[in-house]
Symmetry: C2
Subunit: 598 residues, 2 copies
């Protein structure tokens, strides 16, 4: 891999390092839920995902980006190449790989399945998204739907026969879920009549499979206003009628001309134009938001993984380019007779590459750790372990969702920059990944919303228990690093930052409790930023520790890991103090700024 001339999308060595050397995921196989598994079954899946990603999905990425589906007479026809590759993706079994065998799954740990998913995402985000969306929607039905709904929808979705999508956002409501107006009217039968419009519905209409199940939020007639009156429905494009699939009055009313994810259509949907759209209530009335919340971590970690994968593909592309593109000479050598050198020899190019490495591999570690905690939250042996792990997943989710979106975008920008003028051309790939990446700070809750969620809810949860869980987990990593020759300064930096963060968080909590919620939340995005910088620093310390434990047989790989860790500790960790100051002082420039002062 060290001198690869083709883009590997994600480093196999890094995935192996994270799973087996940093996280020790083989330990999971001791738990009942994963007892059928071993490193061998994990590696089999990873190998299949790699081959599919590199040989089948990636070669089609550019064609799908360039030739985005259009809406014609209410129908969307997917890219012809997608028809060929979709069955191959389904065949891999990732739609329900992490679900139990009762529902046709393979009971794989999320942290292993996640890595397999990441390869597909890096290769072709749009192609992957069809199964990603289906997986999330089907899991909602599995978790909260009745047996008959599971039989009617979930089974066909997990098998890839039908696809799924989420239908939450409405034009007038945007991020404000409490303003949803889509209506559900009870009937004498088991279904409701759905009427309303949704926007930005990814994969809301296409001809890749015969049916699409929309998991839709609506208000049952007479329900309370606001989020307490929102219910969740399964609304298929076609419904079973006398044993046949018949039209269910679900229509694509418009297509969004997205700048990225261009193989996946995003639609304005209209439900019940002819008063004949049937929807089936999932779970209890008015509990839609609580169901969504329970599945939100899964969806948000998925977006985080999109971000890491997209940044990773571009990083490796830039790495290949920098190793092969000749330009200029070493600093101080002005002899034009000397040959030009690969640009990776220039310190500033290595700076950009190391920054990308630190973001991409730090981000992948963060996503891997979050998935591992999600596995433990569901399947650890004791209730306390499960509880502690759940608190960690809750705290890490907004970070793991937004860090790759924000810093990943920066990383993608650097990949383009390394390509120079060629990077500005659509004949090269970096600009396409840059476009793809931008969605991740917007969908599944913007970065601003993630910051509200983290500071206003998650980090304060369980009466301080969430914060303590984070402290304990970080301290374990610090102890691990102490046992080997990781530079002590890094441990001190991380534990110093941890103490500062704990103090700050308690202070902000008190501010909120005393009634100054605005003052508490004013710098929530800075808080999210400092927590992200810290969490990735934590993951770099863990990687540094593992690198020091293992570095005998593959010295260059581990040296690279230690350089990236050093970069993060020297360059990024010091920012935390500045951000803490902003949060603590409640610096008020934009609090005071009135709309007509701009």
């Amino acid at each position: 891999m060290s001198a690869a001339s083709t883009n590997p999308l994600i480093s196999d060595r890094d995935v192996e390092f994270l799973l087996y050397e940093v996280f020790g995921v083989e330990e999971l196989c001791k738990l009942d839920a994963f007892s059928e598994h071993s490193r061998e079954t994990f590696d089999l899946l990873l190998q299949s995902a790699r081959r599919l990603a590199r040989d089948i999905l990636f070669p089609v990425y550019k064609a799908m980006d360039e030739d985005s589906p259009v809406l014609r007479e209410g129908a969307v026809s997917v890219h012809p190449q997608l028809r060929t590759i979709y069955p191959r993706i389904v065949e891999l079994g990732l739609i329900n790989a992490a679900r139990p065998e009762e529902v046709g799954g393979q009971s794989l740990p999320l942290c292993v399945a996640g890595m397999a998913n990441a390869y597909l995402m890096a290769a072709n985000l749009s192609a992957y998204a069809y199964i990603g969306l289906t997986s999330g929607a089907a899991h909602l039905i599995e978790a909260f739907g009745s047996d008959s709904l599971k039989r009617a929808f979930m089974t066909r979705m997990y098998s890839g026969e039908w696809s799924g999508t989420m239908a939450l956002t409405e034009p007038q409501a945007g991020s404000s879920i409490s303003d949803i107006q889509c209506a559900a009217t009870p009937t004498d039968a088991d279904h409701y009549l759905i009427k309303g419009a949704k926007i930005f519905i990814s994969g809301g209409e296409h001809d890749l499979c015969e049916n699409i199940v929309h998991l839709l939020l609506a208000r049952i007639d007479g329900a309370p206003a606001g989020i307490r009156g929102v219910s969740l429905f399964a609304v298929p494009k076609k419904r079973l009628h006398e044993g046949q699939l018949a039209d269910n009055d679900v229509h694509a009313a418009g297509l969004i001309h997205k700048i990225g994810w261009r193989g996946l259509p995003s639609l304005v949907m209209s439900y019940g134009e002819s008063e004949d759209c049937h929807g089936w209530l999932i779970g209890e009335p008015n509990q839609g938001i609580s169901y969504m919340f329970q599945m939100m971590n899964e969806a948000r970690l998925m977006v985080g993984l999109h971000g890491v994968a997209t940044a990773s593909a571009a990083y490796h592309e830039a790495l290949v380019y920098a190793r092969t593109r000749l330009q200029g000479r070493p600093i101080g050598n002005k002899n034009p007779h000397d040959p030009q050198i690969p640009i990776i020899e220039h310190a500033d190019v290595r700076r950009m590459l190391l920054r990308q490495k630190a973001i991409v591999e730090g981000g992948l570690a963060l996503l891997g750790a979050s998935a591992l905690y999600a596995d433990l939250a569901d399947h650890a042996a004791s209730e306390d372990e499960r509880h502690q792990a759940q608190l960690l997943v809750d705290v890490l989710t907004p970070i793991a969702k937004s860090f790759p979106a924000e810093r990943g975008f920066e990383s993608n920008t650097l990949a383009l920059q390394i390509h120079g003028g060629y990077g500005y051309s659509s004949e090269y790939l970096p600009e396409a990944w840059l476009r793809d990446q931008k969605l991740n700070s917007i969908h599944e809750g913007t970065t601003g919303i993630q910051s509200y969620d983290l500071l206003g809810r998650r980090i304060m949860a369980d009466g301080g228990g969430a914060l303590r869980a984070l402290e304990n987990a970080v301290n374990q990593t610090i102890e691990r690093a102490r046992a080997v020759d990781v530079p002590p300064q890094w441990r001190d930096d991380l534990s110093g930052a941890l103490a500062t963060i704990v103090r700050l968080t308690r202070e902000l909590g008190k501010r909120g409790l005393s009634g100054d919620v605005e003052g508490m939340m004013l710098h929530s995005v800075d808080y999210l930023d400092l927590m992200s910088t810290f969490a990735v620093g934590w993951q770099w310390l863990a990687q540094a520790a593992a690198a020091c434990e293992e570095r005998k047989d593959d010295p260059n790989f581990y040296r690279g890991k230690l350089c990236a860790a050093q970069y993060w500790f020297a360059t990024e960790m010091p920012r935390i103090e500045l951000l803490v100051d902003l949060c603590r002082s409640a610096e008020d420039s934009y609090a005071r700024m009135q709309p007509d002062w701009f």
Copy 2:
């Protein structure tokens, strides 16, 4: 303006504030070169530029972005709408507005002409670029060409009859000018025969005017290797032959599919395929680089202005959107019966807007100040004043070129983010400006190259004189702020940062002199970043001082200025210390990182 419902592109009030309240440009009219001018003539030009920008150029922007010219049988046909608007742009006289009357110009100060240019750039960067390129190319001929070359080319270019372009970059050389291979063979006549290929030639071929003059770098046969053997030539697409324009063997060999600036074609050019491409030497042989260097500030400040203008257009678009888009309720209000509020009421949206304002208006001030020093460098009354001003232009140019490219890109990203899901759609404008912006960190010397230029050459110039000139200029602003009630902390922050920077710069200079050039230059990009943060802080202190001097009659405008200044001092200035630490410690993560450790 305070509640504009249409995008003004650039704030007129801000331009007026900068020119007349911050810079006091009317003082320039006391100098001989500008004695014909007054605020009235300045305002006349600005008014014409605003009208042209808003009424003529901006309405065509999207159409030109969507329908990029193609190359067919060697010819590029511009967008039909450009044919209509181009004569209107030429008519405004900006191609040579800042040139003296002898060459048909209006002797306008660059800082006033620059503001007029900025409106056109913000409205339609590609449409503007045709005259921007022509202006720069003609100025090179004016400065270094013989009288006959001026008659043959410059006059027709300044009049807009012919266009101009720069032809520097070659595929195998990229940023490494010393590796240029294009050949020039002397003939018995007054011309040379040119042969070679160039890439990324903006406006290198089009059918907007009858001729295009390429200012091309080539090597005369037998010239020394490296940059000392590079000469500058004027190479027209068509040459005069028996009183007629005849083909000059200049061919468009390929079109770059650029992701932005899509109204302006970028070409792979081939010169002398049939051994019949005539080029005329400008100035002396082998002096090409020195001529280019002398004009480089002009070109780079132009790129800086592109960046500011592009960020400004997006900032104002986001401002209009945030004032009109209703979503959510004030923090803590969960009553769904209350109406939704404009998103500008949300603190986090105001944060994103204030950050954009600080970047855009701070950047415009920096560009304005740089142009003012350029005016003084050419026309101030005493030689010492001219010398001091030239040192300042030299130091400020790489900063003013790269700050808008880097932070402007971030600002453009925030404008997209404020638009939420709509921002991700090409039906809205922010994504187009984001694409446009990305070029500015690449062309006219990448950000990395700017950083080498600043730290390796410019800040060290004149035996410390350049650094002293910056010190003096900043201290004048600090004194100005002291005379009014600008918060003393900001003055202290700026003067503290100045002292730190002076110390750091001397230390790095010594490191270089002692032979450790790599150690000196290792964090050049961090040095550029800290200098940019500092320079924009300086400009915000100047604006705060002017706001405090004037703020009686338009309180909201000045309050907004003070909030933005506060934001910069609280949020950005503290980063300087971190960056200084990186430079001083020569933090070595990417110095140590070997290519095969990635």
